[in-house]
């Protein structure tokens, strides 16, 4: 993806490529039958193959292939019906075989894309849709875990390999727009989105500074120092490492089928059907967002927010199901009020004291004009206290029902006007803000139980008469 040039440096453009290592959710490893389990004791989930005992051979895990196909389909990739496995050689203690099995030449999926939203504008409320290209998805063996014990000058190796984390390497270069791409550096092993962003920002700036001062960028690997907030050169090797890629001879080409190419009478246990997998995919976010916009008339940025919070979409849809209120009202309440409360107290949707049913009931009361919107906010605050009361109970307890009696209201308006002749005078002079004051006074007198719109209407009528 190409970022816009930073403020004040119009002549530079940065290009960033991300290499994302994501662990597949499966019961056993990619090539060996040993289990995958988080927080198991070190080296307790290691098969003979994982320990690279001589004579052991890799066996492909079906579930992992299916997961890769699903990922590829979800990211709009072309799924390669034939893909190959390769060996990538280097010596390191956490790589017992001396090579890693990966898919360098012909990976399982290529040429995809992902749309996402970037928050912009005032208050970050505007969401700009963007697209990033996915070059390829490849299945790859994970290495072990290394724990460096500097005190005893030794490194401890755990070959369980259940890291459970996302790991990202970022490739960064800068260039002048219109000119060829610059030399890139690789920043390795970034474990959080926040540090990823910091590292990239730092590295872009470092490269720009370097080049503006007449220096040059080396094609090298760097690591990010969290405390110092900067990248530092990792390897002092001359030139890049040669991984001596070679086809993995123990794994035949991975052949996938679809409905048209599936051979007749094929054993379903032995083949993978891309079309079948596609059918098992849940609705993809972009489709969901589109549907939300169409169905409920919400803004695109609202759909992003709904999807970006875990459980929020489901919450929203449950409220919609149970309430008579307009979808736009529901959207507004869920995204502003509900989400606001959650964020304030740093809660997840699943931890919310307010259930979809409760909110639905509240919105019904509002919709039927039983209460005013101000009163509704009050009720919501009460619900949040988790005292087990329903909105209806709160309303009657606190006597928040909207004042129905128009006659009583007219009387009240009349007395309020009498009590504040100065305000009335201002009004007659043509001061528009004065009416709000009057409305406010009447409202206060009704303990917010009167609908401000009705108050306004009555007052205006009285004034004109």
């Amino acid at each position: 993806m190409t970022q816009k040039p930073r403020k004040g440096e119009h002549k530079w453009a940065a290009v960033v490529g991300l290499e994302i290592h994501a662990q597949i959710s499966s019961n056993s490893k990619l090539f060996s039958g040993s289990q995958v389990r988080f927080s198991a004791p070190p080296n307790s989930l290691v098969s003979f193959f994982d320990a690279s005992l001589p004579g052991t051979l890799p066996v492909l895990n079906r579930r992992c292939v299916e997961a890769a196909v699903m990922t590829g389909l979800a990211l709009n990739c072309h799924i390669n019906k034939k893909s190959l496995f390769d060996r990538k050689h280097y010596f390191y203690a956490d790589l017992p075989a001396g090579y890693q099995i990966t898919q360098q030449r012909l990976p399982i999926a290529v040429n995809g894309s992902l749309t996402y939203g970037v928050c912009a504008g005032k208050k970050q409320s505007q969401v700009i849709p963007k697209t990033v290209r996915i070059k390829q998805i490849q299945l790859e063996q994970d290495s072990g875990k290394s724990l460096h014990d500097d005190l005893r000058s030794q490194t401890l190796i755990d070959l369980n390999r259940a890291e459970g984390q996302l790991r990202v390497d970022a490739n960064i270069s800068v260039h002048h727009p219109g000119e060829p791409l610059g030399v890139r550096t690789e920043v390795k092993n970034l474990n959080s989105i926040r540090f990823l962003a910091k590292a990239i920002d730092y590295e872009i700036q470092r490269q720009i500074n370097e080049l503006e001062n007449g220096g040059e960028i080396l094609n090298e690997t760097r690591s990010f120092h969290y405390q110092l907030g900067c990248t530092m050169s990792m390897r002092d090797k001359e030139g890049k490492q040669d991984y001596r890629f070679m086809p993995e001879p123990n794994l035949p080409p991975l052949v996938l089928y679809d409905a048209t190419s599936l051979p007749a009478g094929a054993d379903p246990q032995q083949v993978i059907n891309i079309d079948q997998i596609r059918e098992t995919l849940p609705e993809l976010p972009s489709v969901t967002r589109e549907r939300l916009v169409q169905q409920y008339g919400m803004l695109l940025e609202h759909s992003f927010t709904l999807l970006n919070e875990v459980g929020l979409l489901e919450f929203f849809q449950n409220v919609i199901k149970e309430t008579r209120a307009e979808p736009k009202k529901v959207t507004s309440w869920v995204l502003n009020t509900f989400l606001g409360y959650l964020k304030q107290q740093n809660l997840a949707v699943s931890e919310s004291p307010v259930t979809p049913s409760a909110l639905a009931e509240l919105l019904d009361l509002l919709d039927s004009r039983t209460i005013s919107s101000a009163a509704a906010k009050q009720v919501f605050e009460e619900l949040w206290k988790r005292e087990g009361k329903t909105p209806g109970q709160i309303v009657s307890e606190k006597q928040l029902e909207l004042m129905e009696d128009r006659g009583a209201l007219e009387q009240l308006c009349h007395s309020m006007m009498e009590a504040h002749p100065q305000v009335v005078m201002d009004l007659k002079k043509g001061n528009p803000r004065a009416i709000n004051k009057l409305i406010g006074l009447v409202r206060k007198a009704t303990q917010s139980r009167a609908d401000p719109a009705m108050i306004k209407e009555i007052l205006e009528k009285k004034l004109s008469s």
């Binding site: 003979f48 320990a51 690279s52 005992l53 001589p54 004579g55 052991t56 051979l57 890799p58 066996v59 492909l60 060996r87 050689h89 010596f91 203690a93 017992p96 075989a97 001396g98 090579y99 490194t155 190796i157 040669d242 001596r244 890629f245 070679m246 001879p249 123990n250 794994l251 035949p252 032995q270």
Partner: protein, 545 residues
């Protein structure tokens, strides 16, 4: 009893003529007597006797597991055996005791076979003489046949009795010597460029290389993953078929085995006539380096087929001359990759240096590997470098495809089986063999065998006759992929013809103990055994390495 075929002994066991324990003890005793051959690295005496005991119980209860129950076998020391040291004849794995059995080993054990021990080889199966392992070279039992000894006595250059002993060929020389010296009835070898067929030819045995993908490689410590197969060494073709029947079949642990059902069991029909058979003779295999004796036998064999009604055609395998260099590139590349796991960390040898990981790797690998292995690793890494990959590795793969296509074309032209020599000549004396280095020897000796591995085809070496020196010479049959049964059927027919020819020569009366039509009781076998026992007495005091 020790001189019989596997099939015969199996029958004897079933009939109660001998018990597994008696058989086991006889073999163990002979192993001890023939220790000077250096065929075995590990003799698993306790294990074998225990297995014999269990086998005996089964026979007593009439519940034998089959033809292999109670049969002593040996396994090349590059197959993983649970609880039994597996060294690959290398310092790198000295003392390494695997926690699992190779699939083929497990299958043999499941059939009740008795594991006599692990046999000697060239280090990591790299070599064609079985001379380059850390436990020393293997001696060809035929070095001690009366005929050969008499011929050598005429040689004024021989200094002492044992200075001109012969190599077994390699790299499965230990397995070949073990079977040839009657210490077991079958042995597992491996075959990457001829490592089972070559020593079979030099030791007067049947050496069978199955189609790639027919037999599991799980547990076979790899040399070249895309060419290795487990090999079978026996005294006759029927025996090889019995063993193959136990071993063949898909293995979920080996993704390169094929899933198509194989016709099991491997019962070999006796071919009545060969009039429908077409034998191909590849003309590129007629090279000047071929010894006149082998050439003559090859020609006679072709004539034999023709005289019995088969069609014999000359065929061309035009890319034959490129196969050595192609093999060299692909083999060393895979070796460089496969040997990367030997770093001293998880298992095997580790040096004493612990200054840094890199220093430890370097010293461990220098100490653990011999120079043949190190040489191949260096070559292989060179070919795999980014700047060389296209020009060497990819090119070699393309040439490999051409070589494989040569065979396809030959078979498509109506040929059923190809007939070629197995080796350039009979076995040579060790002192002569070591005049050239391992690489040169391998390039020379693999010439007829290694294209077969590149094409993944089945092939078998059959002992045909004795040379003028009294040493065995074998010929090779090559079949279509996964037509192993057909190949062995033809080989069996040929074996029978050879026996008839020998019988006709009237040597039968002179040398046979029993009037049996089996190749194992061929003229020299009995002599060989007698001589070994005789020589043992002379050699007990010598320190043979």
């Amino acid at each position: 009893m020790l001189g019989r075929t596997l099939q015969e002994v199996s029958a004897a066991l079933k009939q109660g003529q001998i018990t597994p324990t008696e058989l086991c003890q006889k073999c163990l005793s002979l192993i001890k007597k023939t220790k000077f051959l250096n065929a075995y690295i590990t003799v698993s005496e306790e294990v074998a006797l225990k297995q014999a005991e269990e086998s005996e119980k089964r026979y007593k209860n009439g519940q034998s597991l089959g033809d292999l129950d109670g049969i002593p076998v040996a396994v090349k020391d590059n197959f993983s055996t649970s609880g039994i040291e597996t060294t690959c004849a290398s310092n790198m794995l000295k003392g390494y005791i695997p926690p699992y059995n190779a699939t083929v080993v497990q299958k043999l054990l499941d059939q009740g076979a008795l594991l006599m021990g692990k046999t000697n080889l060239d280090e990591f199966a790299m070599g064609s003489g079985s001379t380059d392992g850390i436990f020393g070279p293997v001696k060809n039992p035929w070095s001690y046949s009366k005929q050969y000894r008499e011929k050598r006595k005429q040689n004024p250059h021989s200094k002492n009795e044992d200075s001109d002993w012969l190599i077994t060929g390699g790299s499965s020389g230990g397995s070949a010597a073990a079977v040839s010296a009657f210490t077991c009835y079958a042995a597992l070898g491996s075959d990457t460029g001829g490592s089972t067929r070559n020593p079979a030819a030099h030791c007067g045995l049947v050496g069978f290389k199955p189609s790639y993908g027919l037999v599991s490689r799980h547990g076979l410590i790899p040399l070249v993953n895309s060419m290795d197969v487990p090999g079978i060494l026996t005294r006759c073709v029927d025996d090889a078929a019995i063993v193959l029947g136990a071993l063949a079949g898909p293995d979920p642990k080996d993704s390169t085995t094929v899933h198509d059902p194989i016709n099991k069991p491997f019962m070999l029909p006796s071919l009545a006539d060969v009039s429908k058979l077409c034998i191909g003779i590849p003309k590129e295999y007629l090279i000047p380096e071929l010894s006149s004796e082998v050439r003559s036998l090859w020609s006679k064999a072709a004539d034999l087929f023709e005289s019995e009604g088969a069609k014999v055609l000359e065929v061309s395998l035009p890319h034959t001359s490129y196969s050595i260099v192609c093999y060299h590139v692909l083999c060393t590349s895979e070796v460089a990759s496969n040997m990367a796991r030997f770093d001293g960390l998880q298992y095997g040898h580790r040096c004493d240096i612990n200054v840094s990981t890199e220093a430890m790797y370097a010293a461990t690998r220098r100490e653990g590997f011999n120079d043949v292995v190190r040489g191949r690793i260096l070559s292989g890494n060179f070919f795999l470098l980014k700047e060389n990959y296209e020009n060497y590795f990819v090119k070699a793969q393309k040439v490999r495809r051409l070589i494989a296509n040569d065979f396809v074309n030959a078979f498509n032209s109506g040929v059923d089986v190809l007939l070629t020599p197995t080796t350039l000549s009979e076995a040579v004396p060790y002192l002569e063999f070591i005049k050239e280095d391992n690489r040169t020897r391998s390039a020379q000796d693999d010439i007829f065998t290694q294209a077969v591995n590149m094409a993944g085809l089945p092939a078998v070496s059959i002992p045909v006759a004795l040379s003028n020196q009294g040493l065995p010479i074998g010929l090779q049959f090559i079949g279509r992929a996964f037509c192993d049964q057909q190949l062995l059927t033809v080989a069996k027919w040929f074996e029978k013809q050879v026996m008839h020819v020998l019988c006709k020569k009237g040597e039968k009366e002179k040398h046979y103990k029993r009037k049996k039509k089996s190749l194992v009781t061929s003229p020299s076998d009995i002599t060989l055994r007698n001589n070994i026992e005789e020589l043992h007495g002379q050699n007990t005091k010598k320190e043979i390495k």
